[in-house]
């Protein structure tokens, strides 16, 4: 079972306590955006076989949202971090680089 550390309350939460919330670090488009940007925002999700960043909610715990870095190919968890960030923190990126040299995810490297 997938176990994620909730950075909000510090609990190692089982998958049954969590709710998956899809891709992290979406840039929300609004009025005045181009059609391409809006299509990307609404429909084009990152779907990598490998390093992925996701939103999760500790639904049956503290109830708060957080973000996780995970490998979709091995189910390995690289780390979790608070949701109040625009891109993955450097220590998470370093951890991933140590295990997956040369990784990239969308515009994040």
């Amino acid at each position: 079972m997938l176990i994620l550390h909730c950075p909000c309350c510090g609990v190692d939460a089982d998958e049954t306590d969590l709710h998956a919330g899809g891709q992290a670090h979406l840039k929300r488009e609004g009025p005045g955006s181009t059609d391409d940007d809006f299509e990307d925002y609404l429909f084009m999700r990152e779907n990598p076989k490998g390093v992925h960043f996701e939103r999760w909610r500790h639904a049956y715990g503290c109830g708060k949202w957080f973000l996780a870095a995970r490998c979709t190919n091995t189910l390995e968890v690289f780390g979790t971090y608070p949701a109040q960030t625009l891109e993955p923190p450097q220590d998470i990126k370093d951890k991933i680089t140590a295990k997956r040299p040369g990784w990239s995810w969308g515009n994040v490297q």
Binding site: M1, L2, E15, T16, H19, A20, D35, D36, F38, E39, L42, F43, M44, R45, N47, P48, K49, H52, E54, R70, T72, N73, T74, L75
Partner: protein, 414 residues
């Protein structure tokens, strides 16, 4: 190719079965093909088959990184139906279901199509309204379905508890000519027919790159070396995103794990297919006697071909309420497949930003039923550049807001 027949069985019985040929050849790749199909699952093989049969294009290679039919073709619950709400869906799924009717004869290969009937159970008022609407839509589309009351449901499926308590059966959408088929046989039958037309089915040959020149595809790099082609069809289900990345574009799909399981074999207890969408489970009995149970998808992206255990628990817990006898059964095997899900739960059969590259994906949790229709339509699209069956299923429909919204109509058990 030697034809299979009752006479052939009798002949071989007289000589210790020494006269059977290989069902399909095991060739090494040539330097160049007119068309390369990536993915030797049902959809890829059907595409190749109809390219040859309907359009005479036989200089075709079908590349498979694993083994033939070893992906989702070997991992589904073999349900065939066409009771969809939207017109474009009903057209392609009904085309597919009708092709299943004669597939064994067409391929000279017994795919064991069994039109035993499919019920989609209505267990909430919302579903009652939804399925009545679908029945009306199907009447207009020429798809034979009908709304049936709880007594008829009980008559068709006596092992069902229709009284609830949590989710009483309020009726159902009945498609008498829906059913099941032997999933492996569909892939094997198409592979045999393709091989007979001179096509190369090449297993254990993984595509690692898509070569382009001036925005047009010229070939692929594989684990068996580079192969040139004029047209490329990507039919790789859960790995479509990976293929698209190689070709340099993105697809509006996400890959998630979908699970199924079977019980120990028991005597015949149920001779139809039942889909219970409210409780996220579907059920049929295989010819071996196993109860075949399909579950829901996980909520997160996954390429591992195995899902979360608690989803199995949820599915079985809910089904036991509607089918109390299941509580006494031991479950034998569980497996998962990687399904490619689009935003509107409808497939993508489309041209792509790269000239000569076509994509057939997004069948999500319900691709098996669509194999022959999908192959038929994709072959027409690749041969002629356009097909009435695929017009609405373009990958660019999302930006235009032209969804084919089956997510409400079909829910999870799709």
């Amino acid at each position: 190719m030697k034809r299979y027949s009752a006479f052939a069985i009798a002949r071989e019985a007289m000589r210790q079965h020494t006269g059977w040929d290989r069902a399909w050849a095991k060739p090494e790749p040539k330097k160049k093909y007119d068309v390369i199909i990536v993915g030797a699952g049902g959809h890829g093989l059907a595409t190749a088959y109809f390219l040859g049969k309907n359009f005479g294009i036989t200089n075709v290679a079908i590349l498979e990184k694993g083994w033939l039919g070893g992906g989702n073709t070997g991992r589904n619950t073999t349900i065939i139906r066409s009771n969809y709400l939207q017109d474009p869906s009903a057209a392609i799924y009904e085309k597919s279901r009708s092709l299943y009717e004669t597939m064994s004869q067409d391929l000279n290969y017994n795919v064991m199509f069994s039109p035993r009937g499919v019920i989609m159970l209505a267990q909430t008022q919302h579903e009652v309204r939804g399925y009545k609407r679908t029945a009306h839509a199907n009447a207009l589309q020429g798809v034979q379905t009908e709304w049936i009351d709880p007594a008829r449901v009980k008559e068709l499926c006596p092992i069902m508890n229709i009284d609830g308590p949590r989710y009483p059966v309020l009726g159902g959408l009945w498609q008498a000519r829906g059913g099941t088929a032997r999933h492996d046989a569909v892939a094997w039958g198409y592979a045999r027919a393709c091989s007979d037309m001179g096509m190369d089915v090449i297993q254990q040959c993984e595509v690692q790159g898509v070569r382009q020149k001036d925005g047009k595809v010229v070939g692929v790099d594989t684990t068996k070396g580079p192969i040139d082609c004029d047209k490329l069809g990507m039919v790789t289900a859960g790995h479509s995103g990976v293929m698209a990345q190689m070709a340099g574009f993105r697809l509006p799909i996400e890959s998630v794990a979908l699970q199924a399981l079977v019980s120990e074999p028991i005597k015949p207890a149920m001779d139809i297919v039942v889909m219970a969408n409210t409780v996220h489970g579907y059920l049929s009995q295989s010819d071996k006697g196993e109860m075949v149970i399909g579950g829901g998808t996980d909520g997160y992206n996954n390429y591992t071909q195995r899902g979360s255990f608690h989803h199995i628990e949820e599915t079985v817990r809910a089904l036991v309420e509607t089918f109390p006898m299941l509580a006494r059964l031991k479950m034998l095997r569980q497996w998962g497949g990687i399904v490619d899900v689009t935003g509107d739960r409808s497939p993508i059969l489309s041209k792509t930003p790269v000239e000569g590259v076509f994509v057939n994906c997004g069948w999500g949790t319900g691709g098996f039923k669509a194999i022959p229709g999908s192959g038929w339509a994709m072959a027409e699209l690749m041969a002629k550049g356009q097909s009435p069956l695929t017009d609405e299923f373009s990958m660019f429909r999302f930006r235009e807001g032209k969804f084919i919204d089956e997510s409400v109509a079909a829910g999870v058990a799709h």
